[in-house]
């Protein structure tokens, strides 16, 4: 498979009044042509910052201190603003989290959808609007032709997210970054948007980086999954590896805290105890160790390297070291593997 994007050892700091926040502490991953990579993790784990680094859309107090982001071998971090403008919205585009605030309230949606074409392609206004209409049809806006001159406030939340998606795909990007595109929507609309993204991916063959904190959504869309915690990846692999054979205790915790349909009504939903570390002073060892009941002594002292579990499946936990005691995932997590298998089959069938 073709690697179109390679992120290597990315480090991002934020300068704040309280000091330097080490938001991203060495993240590496790659993206193959046509695949969907899901990045999961809780709020503040650095998912959004990672993808905003790719787009070079970070806040002004940020500082990329290390690493490279290679797009077809070209380091995006070395490009000027002007060169990045040619890539943004053209080769790499992005879908944002909140459809209610992502659209310009004073511009017609026809113009907003046509805008990337007007910027990147030498194309007439009329032709761009025609193309906008096609794409709006594609994302499922009823009567798209008649609604080109309408404004965002005349659409519902779900429709607005479809419009935001239309803006992102209008120029057939090679990479589509979706930053929690379903978080602000209700569950039925969520499912529609996920289906739409899958359908569009088949039609235009784009690669997708999908950011979410919802593992249920991941199971439905991803080929590969990267789990992020406190500014680092802790585990990555194919979607099956993560759901049926997770190795990192943090991944176990995430899976365990996902509600399923056949939970007993008297049963508490499991959660991960504690809170994520303060990234003003990142911990020396494994950042998850203080919340991890399987933590070893070395976890507090030294950052675990990635251990290979199988082809494409890696996890950064000392538990995989040959000398470590054998630990199996908690029973409640193991019980879920079968459920996920069923769930996965219904999702794909």
């Amino acid at each position: 498979m073709d690697k179109i994007l390679e992120v290597n050892d990315l480090e991002v700091n934020f300068n704040t009044y309280n000091g330097t926040v080490h938001a991203i502490r060495g993240v590496s991953f790659d993206l193959n042509a046509g695949e969907t990579l899901a990045i999961v993790g809780e709020s503040g784990s650095g998912k959004s910052i990672t993808v905003r680094s790719i787009m070079q859309l970070l806040a002004s107090n940020s500082d990329i201190t290390n690493g490279s982001i290679k797009y077809h071998g070209d380091d995006l971090l070395k490009k000027s603003d002007k060169e990045m403008d040619k890539i943004r919205g053209n080769k790499i585009s992005m879908i944002f989290q909140d459809p209610m605030t992502s659209l310009d309230p004073t511009m017609t949606i026809g113009k907003q959808v046509a805008e990337p074409l007007r910027i990147h392609k030498n194309i007439s206004k009329k032709a761009a609007l025609k193309r906008a209409e096609e794409v709006l049809n594609l994302v499922g806006i009823p009567n798209a032709k008649g609604r080109l001159n309408d404004y965002p406030h005349q659409f519902s939340g779900g429709q607005r997210q479809r419009i935001v998606i239309a803006i992102a795909i209008v120029d057939y990007p090679e990479i589509l970054i979706a930053d929690e595109p379903t978080t602000a929507l209700d569950v039925t609309v969520q499912a529609q948007i996920i289906d739409l993204l899958k359908e569009l991916q088949e039609k235009i063959g784009t690669s997708i980086i999908f950011i979410t904190h919802d593992l249920g959504v991941v199971a439905g869309i991803a080929d590969r999954v990267a789990v992020m915690y406190a500014g680092r990846l802790v585990e990555y692999g194919n979607v099956d590896d993560i759901f049926y054979n997770p190795q990192h205790p943090y991944t176990w915790g995430l899976l365990d805290s996902m509600p399923t349909l056949d939970v007993d009504e008297n049963q508490h939903l499991n959660s991960i105890p504690g809170t994520p570390p303060n990234l003003l002073n990142p911990p020396k060892g494994d950042a998850f160790a203080p919340r991890n009941k399987y933590a070893l002594e070395i976890d507090l002292e030294e950052q675990p390297p990635f251990f290979k579990v199988s082809k494409n499946h890696y996890a950064a936990t000392w538990l995989l070291h040959p000398d470590a005691p054998k630990v199996t995932p908690p029973a409640s997590v193991q019980r879920r593997f079968d459920e996920y298998k069923k769930l996965g089959e219904t999702n794909n069938g």
């Binding site: 787009m55 859309l57 603003d81 002007k82 403008d85 040619k86 890539i87 943004r88 919205g89 053209n90 585009s93 992005m94 944002f96 909140d98 605030t101 992502s102 659209l103 310009d104 309230p105 004073t106 511009m107 805008e115 990337p116 910027i119 990147h120 404004y151 406030h153 005349q154 935001v164 803006i167």
Partner: protein
Amino acid sequence: MTKYILKRILYLFITLFIVATITFFLMKLLPGTPFSNQNRLAPEQLALVKKQYGLDQPIWIQYLKYLDSLLHGNLGTSFQFNNEPVTELITSRLAPSMQIGAQAMILGTILGILLGAVSAFKKDTWVDTTATFFSILGLSIPSFVLAIVLQFYLALKWGIFPVALWKNFQSSILPTLALAALPLGNIARFMRTEMVDVLSSDYIELAKAKGNSSWQVVAKHALRNSLIPIITIIGPMAVGIMTGSMVVENIFSIPGIGDQFVSSIITNDYPTIMGLTIFYSFLLIIIYLVVDILYGIVDPRIRLGNGGKE
């Protein structure tokens, strides 16, 4: 939209009627008569003059007569100023006031928007600090002080512009500058705050993600969205500038309308007071109507008649 404007014009006439009524009776409460200074008139002559102007009749008859002539577009003749018709009096004196008022508003608004936008765009840099310094200066210096300073340096000392009087376009420049400082400072402050807010919004990030360069983002998306609250303050400010230019007009000896208003009140010149009040009300209502229409143009969410649902 047409229906809305027609409705607003109907309201305009109702408002003018109410303004005319209140002003008429308030004016009659002023002490003295238009002729109280004419000591040389014998009582018989005074009675004759009063009769000539209809001032001997009961107030309500005077009121009805006034309304009648108003309906025919007649504002009466002035008791002062050589018995000139009030309509002519206003139009001849209106031009200078309106010209410097409008020039000051246009200049202040455009420069204010630019200054505020640049300030927000270059937030927390020396550009921002400098722009903020000038806008606060404009806000806090009273227009008559600025008028005198401008007059002293630009006219008296360096002789670039005429010191005073109303002759040509050159003579309108200094009063315009003096009046423009306040709207400029005010609008720049508002614009900066609003634009900083807009620039941090999600749709601006999306606009960047589309591949717009920084200035394209400002020109295509940020500017228009920042203008919405600016329009709100432009209305009252325009009225303030157009009616409150009296002192500046005085400093530059401009034969404007403000000066005339004051002297007509001092001399109980009833028709002129009425005429000017009605005219100012008319101006005010029209400016607010224009502001409301502008709103709709800039912000589609409050555009009328398209059933905009939220």
